[in-house]
Amino acid sequence: MTKLNREGLAQLREQARAGWQQRWHGKQAQIIIGMGTCGIAAGARKAWDAFADELKKNNLTEVRIEQTGCMGLCYSEPTVEVRVPDMPPIIYGKVDAEVARRIVRKHIVGKLLINDHIYDRPALDAFGKQG
């Protein structure tokens, strides 16, 4: 890629924002896994694999798995945010492989929240355009 000037940056930012909007508010379900050291230590990679496997089994090829940093909910690692269109974004905690599979089956397929693994977003986003 060429070095950016100001215009280039503005263009790139617009593209990035569009992509971001698409990802966060688009038509596809999305699974965002906290992949900080603590998340990984608590088993985030195993959860990731379980998600991927279960999505495949259910033929949900359009559902994206994304990674993010630590949400700060260390007591509930691994934490996962699940965004399904027309449903509130939900943060699940203590997501082991089994819970991951349940999330796919019940939440993504069945549109049912999984009662005992829901945690609260630690703070509202005062800065971004996440909504």
Partner: protein, 166 residues
């Protein structure tokens, strides 16, 4: 001038040293690279690094012995690092160390007699939510109890240890 046989440095290490040679403050980065290769800093490698970087050997040893991550002795085949951050301490990190001593015969900063494990203490792995925590070769085990230790170790040592502690 050393009596021991001279270790031949790998091309990768030599290239790394060449790249860093003229950068100020290179020594710690080079030592990290050396340890990546050998898991410790062998004596004759330290001599060679001194010559290649044109740094007094004494300075290299001063640095190696100052920083806990640098080692002058070969560690065990698996390195167990027990977190002794405050959260882990309060939640029983010390018990894990005591249990390890009985299980593998290696206390802090020693290698087990069979050369399989060495035990170290680390100051906070940043997994306080999982306290108490230890890592084996970088893999993190959290919310550990003494009772779980033999199983965890067995993963690394295989049947031999499992039999010994059964």
């Amino acid at each position: 001038m050393q009596a021991e046989t001279k270790t031949e440095l790998s091309p990768g290490l030599l290239e790394f040293i060449r790249q860093w040679k003229d950068k100020p403050g290179n020594l710690i980065m080079v030592l990290h690279r050396v340890q990546q290769e050998y898991r410790y800093v062998p004596r004759d490698v330290a001599f060679q690094v001194a010559a290649l970087l044109e740094v007094p050997l004494a300075k290299i040893y001063g640095v190696i012995t100052f920083y806990h991550l640098f080692k002058l002795k070969q560690p065990g085949r698996h390195v167990i690092a027990v977190c002794m951050g405050t959260a882990c301490y309060l939640k029983g990190g010390e018990d894990l160390i005591r249990e390890l001593e009985t299980l593998i015969g290696a206390g802090v900063n020693t290698v087990s007699p069979d050369g399989e494990f060495s035990v170290e203490v680390v100051r906070c792995l940043g997994c306080c939510g999982l306290a108490p925590v230890l890592t084996i070769d970088g893999e993190v085990f959290g919310n550990l109890t003494k009772a779980q230790l033999p199983d965890v170790l067995a993963k690394y040592q295989g049947k031999q240890l499992a039999a010994a502690t059964a």
